[in-house]
Symmetry: C2
Subunit: 192 residues, 2 copies
DNA sequence: CGTCTATTTGAATGTACTCAAAAGCGGTGG
DNA sequence: CCACCGCTTTTGAGTACATTCAAATAGACG
C-alpha cells in the first residue's frame, strides 16, 4: 500500500520503524475517478497530496474560458496548490484527474505536527522543494529562450513518459502553445 | 553588519546567541562593483548567496546572443544557481551586479554542516523555498495566461520598488518581452 | 565633455493565434 | 460486437500581437 511513498521518503531521509508507522498513519488514501476534481477555485487546499498511481493536472481558467495547465503529477510526484495550503487563502486553481488515480492526503495540522515530532521531515521537504525549484527555474528559462517547437522537443525528451499518456492538448497548454499550433509542429517534425 | 540577514532568519526561526555567532561566522562578505560577475557559464556555484545591499540579476544568453533575465535579487533576497549548487555541475547562467552591491556567501561544505549542527536551518530553508516556489508558480501562471501588457502591469504592481531602480530593458527581458515592445506598451499606457 | 548604453520611434516581418470545419479516436451502451 | 456520441487532433484561411532591424534621441557614467 505505502511502498511507493516510503520509497520516495527513503530517497532523502531514513525513518525508524516507529517513525514509519507514525508517518503512514497520517496518510489518507483516496481514489479519484478520471475527470474527478481534487480542488476547484475558491476551495482552500487543506492537504499535501502524494500521487500513488494515475495522473493529475493542475490548471487555471482565464477570463476567456481558456484552460492553462500549470503542472502535471504522475505516480511518485507531489501536487497541490502550495499558496493556498500555506496561507489558507482560497485557491485559483483546478486540480483534477486525467486518469483513474489514487492519492494519499496529509492534513495540514498533522503535516505541521509532523515537522515538530520528526524534524527530519523538514529536511525531506526542503529537498523536495529544492528539486521542484530547480525544475521550475529550468522551465522558466526555456519559456524565455525557446520558440514553441524547441520547447516541445525538450519536453518530450525530458518527460518521455508523458507523451504516451497525456493528451496533446494538455501538453500544448502546459507549454503555452495552442493545440492547433502543436499539431502543426508535430506534422512538420514527421517530415524528417 | 549582519542585521539584515539575522532579521531575515528571525522571520522563520529563533536562534540562541551561540547559534547566531556560529551562523554569522560562516558568512563571507563580498563587495561587487556594478557590472561585476558573481557567476559565469561553466562555473560551479559553490556558495549560497544573500544580498545585503544592491541588486543582482541572473540571466542566460541564447545562441543568438540574446540575454534573458531569469530573476533579480535585491537586498534581503537570496540568489544563486540552485541546480549547479546542488549537483556540482557547471552552471548555464550568468549572475552579475546591476548596482554596486554587498553579498554574504556561505560555502557549500559549511552550508551542509550547518543543517547537521543546527537542524532548525532545515526549517528555515524549507520555508524560503516554499515562498520561492509559490512565487515561481505564480510567475509561470501569469506567463501562460496573460499578454505582454498585463504581465507588465502586474509586475510593477507586485514589485513597485523594481521599477525605480532596474533598467527597462532588464524588466522587459524578465517578462519575456522585447525592449522595443515594452517601450510601446508604456507609451500606450501614458495616453490615459 | 565625450562615449557608451538605454530608450524611443518607424517600417516590415513573422510566429503563433483565432475561428471554423473535417477527420480521427475511444469509450459507452444498445 | 457494432454504432453512436463526444472529445481530440488535424487542416485551412485569415489575423494579430509582438518581433526584428535600423536609426534617431535621450540619458548616464567616467
Amino acid at each position: 500500500m505505502f511502498d511507493l511513498i516510503l520509497k520516495n521518503v527513503a530517497r532523502h531521509i531514513t525513518l525508524t520503524p516507529e517513525e514509519t508507522d507514525y508517518f503512514t498513519s497520517l496518510l489518507k488514501p483516496r481514489k479519484l475517478r478520471r475527470r474527478q476534481y481534487l480542488l476547484q477555485p475558491g476551495d482552500i487546499m487543506r492537504h499535501e497530496c502524494f500521487v500513488n498511481s494515475g495522473c493529475l493536472r493542475c490548471y487555471l481558467v482565464d477570463e476567456k474560458g481558456q484552460e492553462h495547465v500549470v503542472h502535471f503529477a504522475i505516480e511518485e510526484w507531489w501536487t497541490g496548490d502550495m499558496y493556498s495550503f500555506l496561507t489558507g487563502q482560497p485557491s485559483a486553481y483546478y486540480i483534477d484527474a486525467l486518469e483513474d488515480s489514487e492519492v494519499f492526503l496529509i492534513d495540514k495540522p498533522q503535516f505541521e505536527q509532523l515537522f515538530i515530532d520528526i524534524p527530519k521531515f523538514d529536511r525531506f521537504f526542503r529537498r523536495l522543494l529544492q528539486n521542484a525549484y530547480v525544475a521550475m527555474q529550468h522551465r522558466i528559462s526555456q519559456n524565455l529562450t525557446l520558440p514553441a517547437r524547441e520547447r516541445y522537443l525538450n519536453f518530450i525528451q525530458q518527460y518521455p513518459q508523458f507523451e504516451q499518456r497525456i493528451p496533446l492538448r494538455q501538453i500544448a497548454s502546459y507549454l503555452g502553445i495552442a493545440p492547433e499550433s502543436l499539431s502543426r509542429i508535430r506534422k512538420q517534425m514527421m517530415r524528417r
